[in-house]
């Protein structure tokens, strides 16, 4: 099989751009067109990060307070001292450990399978010619328009009939209808995957699986990482269907959250928020790990035209 050289498109550029009226710092390193961010960029991004993180920060604040402290104005902005107590209460009220394990299983399975199916299907829609392609693609997009709140009823009927109620399968399988994923991978691959690569491989006698493994997957890697992250989070945060299909005996974290905070005719917001915090932290870990896969600024597997 021929070696498809992994080259990047761009050539090393001048160290400083002397041309043009606008004097912008421009540096290209060997790998590509990495420009440095200017001060304006830093300010904007920092502000966006602040706005994005503030509610999360406040979740930590609220989780370390009591319910009275949260609901009584003025709203507390600094952490309190009740975090450990609240965590104890959370584990008293629901089986959070089991919930975390279940959610990890569910979200991982959904993410892995979805990414795999979506990449295969996305590749087929993007680059392969076959009869009915456009019609089937329209069907894929159409499936995204089904509102989930209503489809739970026939779905529950199906799940009951196959005796999956209360089991994790009930939550994993229906989530695999990954129209978004297919659409997303198709979009990405149609831009990022030049047809020449595939044709070159075919000429060399590679069959489809080989092409997938050696050509498609490497190029699709950033998108697969992104899709994996998004799908993982979606499966993790799904609260509507799991609440119907599972119970507190075998919960995911969102189901467990629904059972938290039962006070005497009132909801203990501090406990609910603490649970929400526990539910959110694993996601941030996943981000940190998968985020490295989104390689910055380098196109892999390109072909010099």
């Amino acid at each position: 099989m021929a070696q498809l050289t992994e080259t990047s498109r761009s050539m090393p550029g001048p160290r400083h751009s002397a041309a043009g009226g606008k004097r912008r710092r421009f540096r290209a390193d060997a790998a590509g067109k990495q420009q440095n961010a200017g001060p304006v960029a830093y300010v904007i991004i920092a502000f966006a990060a602040l706005v994005s993180l503030f509610p999360l920060y406040w979740t930590v604040v609220a989780a370390s307070r009591t319910d009275t402290e949260i609901v009584t104005p003025p709203t507390p902005l600094l952490p309190g001292s009740h975090l450990i107590d609240n965590l104890k209460i959370v584990w008293d009220q629901v089986d959070m450990t089991k919930a975390l394990i279940n959610s990890t299983i569910v979200a991982s399975c959904v993410a892995l399978s979805t990414v795999l199916f979506a990449t295969l299907a996305g590749f087929a829609f993007a680059k392969l010619e076959f009869r009915g392609r456009n019609a089937l693609l329209s069907v894929v997009v159409a499936t995204m328009t089904i509102p989930p709140q209503l489809s739970v009823i026939p779905l529950y009927q199906i799940i009951t009939n196959v005796h999956w109620v209360g089991h994790l399968q009930a939550v994993i399988l229906p989530s695999l209808v990954a129209a978004f994923g297919v659409f997303f991978m198709r979009q990405f691959l149609s831009e990022a995957l030049p047809i020449e690569l595939i044709e070159a491989a075919r000429v060399d006698g590679a069959h489809s699986l080989r092409i997938i493994w050696h050509v498609v997957f490497p190029i699709a890697r950033p998108a697969m990482a992104v899709l994996g992250m998004l799908v993982f989070v979606q499966a993790w945060n799904d609260f509507f269907w799991p609440f119907i299909a599972l119970s507190q005996q075998n919960p995911t974290v969102q189901v467990a959250l629904a059972g938290l905070g039962n006070g005497n005719h009132s909801v203990d917001h501090a406990i609910v928020v603490t649970g929400a915090l526990v539910a959110t932290l694993p996601l941030l870990v996943v981000f940190a790990v998968l985020g490295k896969q989104i390689v910055g600024g380098i196109t892999a597997g390109a072909v010099k035209s």
Partner: protein
């Protein structure tokens, strides 16, 4: 192109992960089956059985925060373990329960039903899915109006009563004094005894000399609910048909509540609003009275804070009504019907109800429970000197049963949230507000 070592590792992990998922998907996780409606054997009471009870909010049964009834039951029946499946949102609990009932799956051995939904559960569609508990328990043990609520038109009793919530009036002694009204609870009770109109009139008197910024009552909706609860004719007639627009009870409550709104007697609050404005208003003394079902005592105490301790008192209402309460029902599709029924009887027995009352304040619904000295003599440190138990138990004894229907809850929401609250928040006229209610009923409820 070279497959790097890193890619290969990723590949191995991915394949292993998918294999694990496939195993799970094909249902090899049979270890979960044990939690599916009790354990394997259904015969012989000497086998280990796990009973599951599904409920919402605060029933006060559990071992950690409640009256530890589950542990007690386990001592009495060592082969039975009880597990609770609690949800904090009562509406979500009910919606999900309905879906589960429609497929007879995902149900617990005992399912709690709130009084707001019991009429729906009495309908043949749902009632057929529950056991007739009238056959295993003595209905007369409970106050008469309670079990009537859980009785279907053909006499089947689908739920055993847990608690009730007779409604009194909580008032601020200090604010009443500033406005020149009596402060002793008997005198206050006499101010408006027998007639809710007198209550509204007392409000007008209060307003004349009230400290500035203090309304008489927290919300028009609270007043509406309290008045309606005491009427013999409410949203539906005896056959379950919706008669809200002709019902004299609804008219009385609507007229009085809107009068209070138009006279500026309410603090225009939405009870239990998620933005906590209602909770905050206790502390800042935005209102002097609030309709107090027995469970509201805890809210009054927690929201007002220690600074106002001793300033609140409880007086008898003009007319007695009930606002709240629940039932325990046993789905017929369960695997341990007899054991579930026994547990339900235990949890709703007078002794258990008294224990829950002492821990959580939920008022018993059994006659024996209400007459128990522990209840009769109950007090609350936040209301020093007030015979809390006596007032509520006494009010309970005066409640007249009224027919309920399955649309009651919805109509109640329309009237309180879209009618009265709309008048308070947007200044809508009384006629237009009622028009809104009618339009909503026409759109949402098909007869």
């Amino acid at each position: 192109m070279r497959t790097s070592g890193r890619t290969r590792t990723a590949a191995v992990i991915a394949v292993a992960g998918l294999a694990t998922c496939a195993t799970l998907i094909t249902g090899c996780s049979d270890s979960k089956d044990k939690s599916d409606k009790g354990s394997n054997s259904s015969s012989g009471s000497s086998d280990q059985i796990t009973l599951r009870i599904g409920d919402f909010g605060s029933f006060g049964y559990d071992d950690k925060t409640g009256a530890a009834l589950f542990a007690e039951y386990h001592k009495l029946h060592p082969n039975i373990t009880v597990k609770e499946d609690a949800t904090s949102d009562g509406q979500r609990y009910w919606d999900t329960l309905k879906l589960h009932l429609s497929q007879n799956s995902g149900l617990d051995d005992i399912q709690a039903i709130e009084v707001g939904y019991i009429a729906e559960a009495d309908q043949p569609n749902l009632a057929g899915k529950f056991e007739d508990l009238g056959k295993v328990a003595n209905v007369d043990d409970w106050v008469s109006y309670k079990e009537k609520q859980a009785t279907t038109p053909d006499g089947k009793v689908i739920g055993l009563g847990t608690d009730i919530a007779p409604t009194a009036i909580c008032y601020r002694k200090d604010l009443f004094q500033q406005a020149g009204l009596p402060t002793d609870r008997d005198a206050v009770g006499r101010l408006w005894a027998g007639d809710w109109q007198k209550f509204v009139d007392a409000g007008k008197t209060f307003k004349k000399k009230a400290p500035s910024g203090v309304a008489f009552i927290d919300s028009g909706s609270g007043l509406f609910n309290a008045v309606l609860a005491s009427q013999p004719s409410q949203y539906s007639d005896a056959s379950g048909k919706l008669i809200y627009d002709t019902s004299p009870g609804v008219k009385t409550a609507w007229d009085l509540a809107t009068e209070a709104v138009q006279e500026g007697l309410t603090a225009k609050l939405k009870q239990f609003n998620t933005d906590n404005s209602w909770n905050a208003a206790f502390k800042t003394s935005k209102f002097a009275t609030i309709a107090c079902p027995s469970w509201m005592i805890g809210q009054v105490r927690d929201n007002s804070g220690p600074a106002l301790k001793g300033k609140w008192d409880i007086a008898s209402p003009p007319q007695a009504g009930n606002w709240g309460g629940s039932f325990l029902a046993v789905p017929s599709s369960g695997k341990h019907i007899k054991e579930a029924e026994d547990l339900a009887k235990f949890l709703t027995s007078a002794a258990s109800q008294v224990k829950v009352f002492q821990k959580f304040g939920n008022l018993p619904s059994t006659k024996a429970g209400l007459n128990d000295p522990a209840v009769q003599s109950a007090t609350n440190p936040y209301f020093p000197g007030t015979p809390v138990g006596k007032i509520f138990a006494g009010t309970a004894a005066q409640i007249q049963p009224a027919p309920i229907g399955k649309y009651d809850g919805q109509v109640k929401t329309f009237i309180t949230d879209n009618g009265i609250l709309d008048m308070e928040q947007h200044g809508t006229s009384k006629e237009k507000a009622w028009g809104n209610v009618q339009a909503l009923v026409k759109d949402k409820i098909s007869e």
